[in-house]
Subunit: 499 residues, 3 copies
């Protein structure tokens, strides 16, 4: 009898334990309480726990506070979140704390400063993250995101659009003139997403609770744009998607993150996703999904893709086979560029799109009359097919080949139809410009020109995104064909009005 | 003492069991692990587990994989999700697997093909689902959704709008002409929601991992529009709302599902809901609701209605009384049609709205001058009152009669005011057409005509939906009165400009 | 051995108890089952459990049903949700039920009526809530929200806009005239958010399941606008944010609640928040946050602010220090009014903005030519700095001083730039009005005037909100600079067209 009782208790205890620990693990990551923090980091914490307590707490919730590099390296390769393979000269016995990141490469950091006895960089940059995540940073450095600042700045056509948009026209001698946009407004609009060039202009004094503190005086900051030019000259801002001191992979995998920049009217990726069946399932079921697992198992960790699933996460299927490799070059699985400039075209070979030139030197991937593509700078048809195929592997988890092929064919056809509409409108504009010899050199600073911009930047883009991700309203009434057709008629009226 | 210990353990065990099972049931449905799968379905699974593993997993998460028809029939009627009352010739000992659905009515299915020794239909249709869900399919067959393709295709006025929207105008002899829209574009826009006519054009060869596979070559596919015309001639696509192999009732009950098609600018039901207090409570509390319960108990399973609660779910109150019967005819609880065409009017008697004719043969429910309603095709005032009353029963769970009556009266008044504005604008258009004898026969292919369409299709609709579901911004600044008034003034200018 | 077993069971029991109660407390508030309900409330419940069962259930889920005033007063001050400090003549042994709220101040309530032997107020008002929450009501009474009805009604300029928006123009003698808007339409639009004046027009008979019931006949109802004028003459509707019989603090703290009224195009606070990193983190992590805790601990209960965190909740940091005091005057932590009328300006001193006058009597905070600010009615620079500083305390939980200062400086600069654009556009309008002496006295009833309204009400507002809360698309393509510039050019065309 006593034995029975003992066994009963044992069984009960085990059940309780399992039940309890499941609940625990569902709500938080494991607590490895005896992990060591470096002395320097401890100093940071001791002070910042008082002055910015939630930053400290955010880090405590992060994986960085719960892992040493040594323990990270012990994991199977497919489950690793770091891409170094050896410890090197790093201290593998401590967790990754404040000092471990904010002290790297001081020689390169113009924002390095002495802060209560330590040399600290104010901004941690991709070049610092590279210390443990070299592959991710390398991949990112080939993406359009990394060059997002120069993509605008170094393209005179795009800068015409930037300047014509962000300015208050002035009437001089009876003629409207657009002054150049201010740096401030550019930073608050285009470069808020693209990134600013963060510069260090000496130091400034902050009056804090513990007296005056001298810190670097950063210009064009705060900013977390994806192509931010950092004080160490590196490009990008990992915190854009992995915010902030929790460095969350969960947040990066959720579409709301991408949706901060990729939204209507110009890039309605997020909006179309929300309208799609994928987005519908995400909204309904996400609370049951595991956004933290590495690798990310389709059909188990998630049952409909988010942006990250299709575009960059390491995806395995239910059998554990790798379906798609992780990439931080966000164009890697893309074949066609449907954000038409001003027509759809094969993806650029690399992220430096400001290098793209037509034969006459015009910095565009497709000529305005669609007669020429800047093929030297665009991927060829073989690479095009390869990338389509890569993406299809993700689809195949849940869709049959017939469905997938049908879907991919639609993207081709719809893009071509939208291009045709843009071409028809551009031809109207040529007539318009011929009739208005006295318009300014800027292609985008006249009301009818603004309508034309909407035709390709908003409406044709919207139609293509709507098809690519199946959110048909964005192809119809919401910035779709209804607006494209209506806008064409309006421009036609304006053109014909002119003599 | 031993007795005491024994009793203690017993009590503890019971507590644990209850606690544990509550947690379990909250997170997943029960696992009946010894359920039998048919041999045919097992064959499907054995192969597809490798090629489309997530489809298999999706099904495993579904109720279909966890129930036999026999066990479903044993449930109390009010809790049943099938509407057959007898097993008939079906095998009641197996779960509902791949083969059980994809093999039905092969004689009717033009998409039936031989697939590794089995005769398979590629698409499962409402006529197949009818095998277990006859009442749902019967109800659906009376809804406007079922006829959503012909509602457009067979109405020449609507097809004028479709063609004038989805086309690139061409200038011929100095006059703008609109070519007919392509089938492709129609499928990607209007018919993406309304449904396409899926046709079988022989077979095609798919190159898969296990070699070449011959499958039916489906045209106008993929599509999951609500009125899809299937290869067995049946109408509809159950997966539109109950996606995909999980056949989820949870997803169907969440407003994001309806919002895939019912969204601004033309049918802003979802947007208004999101802005409403109902939507606000849904967003805040949904994680605590039970979206899977049948029947669905107001005040317990949910504390604010979603689209499904008002329009089609089987609702009981906290005392277990039936408040509203389940219906898959989505118009059943609707009295007024507030999606004005071009005015609000009593709901059509049945889903075949393309049969509606005015005395002069015009295929509209209300004449353009509001002098005539096609009353033969619209429900009468008695039925109108009945349906209002049916809806009010749902409201009464949480609102007093005074509140409800006040709300319903508002819908009447606002609809009438919006109609009055559309009439005033239409009168302007009559003046416009009288002045422009040389406009084309198409009512919708001129810029001013497009503005007029927005007046009723976007703005007046928006005002009515805003009132019906209490999202006042859609009645004010967002596609509401501000736009209606402004648009009127613009059209007025255009009319007066013409001589 | 028996002792060991006993201890084991004890330990197990404790573990179970903790585990179980944690789960319970996570999913629902504690059940104090022996709490007493007053006899009067019990009578309400006994009947309404049949007729409006979900109202009863909603209340059961509320804190009101689970607390007595006595137990509430026993809590530490910082954790209290009531602001009385003594019981007074209230019964401290009963929970706060139907009768406790619906019977207060009957002499003041024109909607008081005899209902099955009890004297009941149909509407519970802030003046009734004041019975336990005097401080909250007092604070609210100074806010702009409380005066939201008169803010429109008593400002002749704003009423011009209301009337010009909500009306169907009529052509009389070849000239367009705008009749005054109907009360009904005003209630369904502007006053749906601002609040209606609820009046009692005798009684009416409701036909209910238990026969005829006589109730007050309320006009301009239902409405839950924030400035509602109640039948007891009090101002406001607590249920706007704390809906309905659950009086939820959770819902009030979620941005969707504020977003019911504060949304694009005119006040895009919610939309900008959704696009911001704060909103992004909220969307990703909210399921792990505690929206019910008082005080609300930054970094623990939530890791990114919602509207309530910045604007009115009682916030403490992780060390328990109060970072921001609770306030129900929603302007308390605001310094600049970025919802430009028609320019940005210092916040009004109190909520009665209809008292604001320029020297010439014009009821505007800034003169149309920006030469004069109604400084007597606006906070001075000292108070401006104080309020900025108060807000910065919230930011400091997670951001460094450098970041915060940079952010706050941006708000100043961007507001000034948007103001400059509005001024330039207004100057165009002056030219327009000079050329069109025969426009009506209403400033907002002509198409070009409508474009001008959009310039400040939509676009300039959008640009300022976008900067204040970091959602850059609302500063760029979505109602931002692109529209501002484009709209300027359109107005310019219209002005120059006129002779």
């Amino acid at each position: 009898m006593k034995k029975l009782i003992f066994i009963s208790i044992l069984i009960i205890s085990i059940i309780i334990y399992i039940s309890y620990s499941q609940i625990q693990s569902a709500s938080s990551e494991s607590n490895q309480t005896d992990l060591k923090v470096s002395n320097e980091t401890q100093e940071c914490i001791d002070c910042h726990i008082n002055y910015t307590p939630s930053i400290v707490e955010d880090w405590k919730q992060s994986r960085h506070s719960k892992m040493t590099i040594t323990s990270a390296l012990k994991q199977p390769v497919v489950e690793r979140r770091i891409s170094i393979t050896e410890l090197g000269e790093k201290n593998g016995e401590i967790v990754v704390g404040c000092y471990e990141c904010h002290s790297l490469n001081p020689g390169k950091h113009k924002d390095n400063f002495e802060h209560f006895g330590q040399q600290i960089n104010q901004i941690v940059t991709p070049n610092d993250c590279k210390s443990c995540h070299p592959q991710e940073v390398e991949e990112y450095s080939h993406s359009k995101k990394a060059y997002a600042v120069d993509i605008l700045r170094k393209n005179p056509v795009y800068m015409q659009l930037v300047n014509a948009t962000l300015t208050i026209p002035e009437e001089i001698n009876g003629k409207l003139v657009c002054p150049e946009a201010t740096e401030h407004t550019k930073n608050e609009t285009c470069f808020a997403c693209h990134g600013t060039e963060v510069k260090v202009d000496g130091t400034k004094i902050i009056n804090s609770e513990i007296g005056e503190v001298e810190v670097p005086n950063l210009l064009n900051y705060p900013n977390t744009g994806v192509g931010r030019i950092n004080p160490d000259s590196s490009l990008g801002s990992c915190t854009s998607c992995h915010p902030r001191h929790s460095f969350s992979i969960e947040i990066a995998r959720k579409p709301e993150t991408c949706g901060q920049c990729h939204l209507e009217p110009d890039v309605p990726a997020y909006n179309v996703y929300k309208e799609s069946k994928h987005g519908n399932i995400y909204d309904s079921k996400k609370q049951n999904w595991n956004f933290n697992a590495v690798p990310w198992t389709a059909g188990k960790d998630f049952t409909a893709p988010t942006c990250a699933a299709c575009h960059n996460s390491l995806i395995v299927n239910l059998n554990g086979d790798i379906v798609a490799k992780r990439t931080h070059n966000f164009g890697d699985r893309l074949w066609k560029r449907i954000f038409g400039l001003i027509y759809s075209h094969n993806q650029p070979k690399n992220g430096k799109t400001y290098e793209i030139k037509l034969k006459n030197g015009m910095p565009l991937p497709v000529s305005p009359d669609m007669s020429e593509y800047a093929n030297d700078y665009l991927i060829n048809s073989e690479e095009y097919a390869n990338r389509q195929n890569e993406m299809k592997q993700v689809c195949k988890n849940c869709h049959t080949s017939g469905w997938i092929d049908g879907h991919f064919n639609k993207i081709e056809k719809t893009s071509a139809e939208a291009d045709k509409m843009v071409l028809a409108t551009t031809k109207l504009m040529v007539e318009y410009w011929n009739k208005n010899k006295n318009t300014s050199d800027n292609l985008f600073d006249d009301y009818t020109e603004k309508l034309w911009v909407k035709q390709w930047l908003y409406y044709a883009s919207s139609v293509r995104y709507a098809t690519a991700m199946s959110g048909p309203d964005y192809s119809s009434f919401k910035n779709g064909w209804y607006e494209m057709n209506s806008n064409y008629l309006k421009i036609y009226e304006n053109v014909k009005k002119k003599k």
